[in-house]
């Protein structure tokens, strides 16, 4: 006999998914910051937050948006490396970062490039397209925000775009590589 009703079960699932998203993105932000501190000249080379966000968006869809947003706000408040940025702008960045993966996914959906898994393997081309689109949109949106706040004097667009690209690619690769291999091994163990 089920103790919980269907609504309660849905709420519990929604709550647990979002809690995991918050913790996951927060820890990804923490890990990225620590990795950045090892070699400060390569800041932004590994952006695990974006990889985690993309994985969560693909796996859970729209349900996980609140968790992604809250996790991004927390991570940006504590772990964003630029000290001279006001907290409001950090929140705006977090909102941009958490919304744009969905826009990128919608964009790819329009062009029928949204099949990321088929014949027991990830389709790398589609995943790379999603990464690239997310990082381009993120960089451009950040430039617009900086421009509107007149903070672009020391801001080099192409450098920022390149760093964002490489960070997003490496972060997404690391997150997907780790979890896909773990999942396959986990499934094999469960079959045994």
């Amino acid at each position: 006999m089920n103790i919980l009703t269907n609504t309660e079960l849905r709420f519990t699932k929604f709550f647990s998914i979002n809690m995991c998203a918050i913790v996951g993105i927060f820890l990804a932000g923490a890990a990225s910051t620590s990795i950045d501190l090892i070699a400060p000249e390569y800041v932004g080379l590994v952006d695990l937050k974006t990889g985690t966000r993309l994985a969560l968006v693909l796996l859970f869809g729209y349900w996980v948006f609140p968790g992604i947003l809250l996790g991004s706000i927390g991570a940006n408040m504590l772990f964003l490396p630029y000290d001279d940025i006001h907290n409001n702008i950090r929140v705006i960045f977090a909102m941009i970062e958490s919304t744009l993966p969905y826009l990128a996914l919608l964009f790819l959906h329009q062009f029928k490039w949204d099949q990321f898994y088929a014949d027991s393997r990830m389709i790398t081309a589609h995943l790379i397209a999603l990464c690239a689109l997310t990082s381009i949109m993120c960089s451009l949106a950040m430039v617009l925000v900086m421009q509107s706040l007149r903070l672009t004097e020391n801001y080099r667009l192409f450098e920022h775009l390149g760093a964002h690209f490489s960070g997003t690619f490496s972060g997404t690769f690391i997150v997907f590589f780790m979890f896909i291999i773990m999942t396959r091994a986990f499934m094999a163990k469960l079959k045994e």
Binding site: L27, A30, A31, S34, D119, S120, M182, A185
Partner: protein, 189 residues
């Protein structure tokens, strides 16, 4: 052993232990009151050893050593740090072997992990890890007069338990989601 599989397992183990070690360092630096409360590399080591089996032990050891080298604090001896991290890695291995020996190694159900055995493994790992680290500290004369042994062991035990809890919750959640995703998007599964 298939060399490709071995390499994949070990690289995943290195990445997992290093990433979770990096996250722990950053969280501890941001929240000072959380110092020594979350030791997520232990969770990652145990998770990797349970998921991939003993073949990924070299990966967990290398990941632990990388964490020790990369995130060394000022004034801390690198030899002590590396030995402490090695003690952490070996304690997970020894605890797993002990549980195999005593026939308590039924870590999986049909759907997920079997938590009583995983919890016992975690406690055993924490005790062995605390003992190993303590031996390293004694050998290198790192213990002051006011050092409280029971507090140290308690803190290691607590941090390992919390770290393992966080890692397993996240990993199980995401792995189950990936599993469902694979099943939904595969016709030949």
């Amino acid at each position: 052993v298939n060399i490709n599989k071995w390499l994949l397992c070990n690289s995943a183990a290195v990445v997992a232990v290093f990433v979770f070690g990096a996250a722990t360092v950053s969280v501890e630096n941001s929240f000072v009151w959380l110092h020594n409360i979350f030791d997520m590399p232990t969770g990652a080591r145990l998770g990797m050893l349970l998921i991939f089996g003993l073949i990924c032990f070299p990966g967990t050891l290398v990941g632990s050593l990388l964490v020790g080298v990369a995130f060394i604090e000022p004034g801390e001896s690198i030899n002590v740090k590396l030995l402490e991290e090695s003690a952490g890695a070996f304690s997970a291995l020894i605890a797993l072997l002990m549980m195999h020996y005593f026939k308590l190694s039924n870590f999986y159900t049909k759907e997920s992990f079997y938590y009583p055995h995983v919890l016992f493994l975690c406690i055993l790992t924490a005790l062995l890890s605390a003992t190993g680290r303590l031996i390293v500290l004694v050998q290198f004369d790192q213990i002051d007069k006011g050092f409280n042994y029971s507090e140290y062991i308690g803190s290691v035990l607590l941090s390992n338990l919390f770290g393992t809890l966080v890692f397993f919750t996240l990993a199980i959640f995401i792995m189950q989601a990936f599993r469902q995703y694979f099943v939904q998007h595969t016709t030949d599964y």
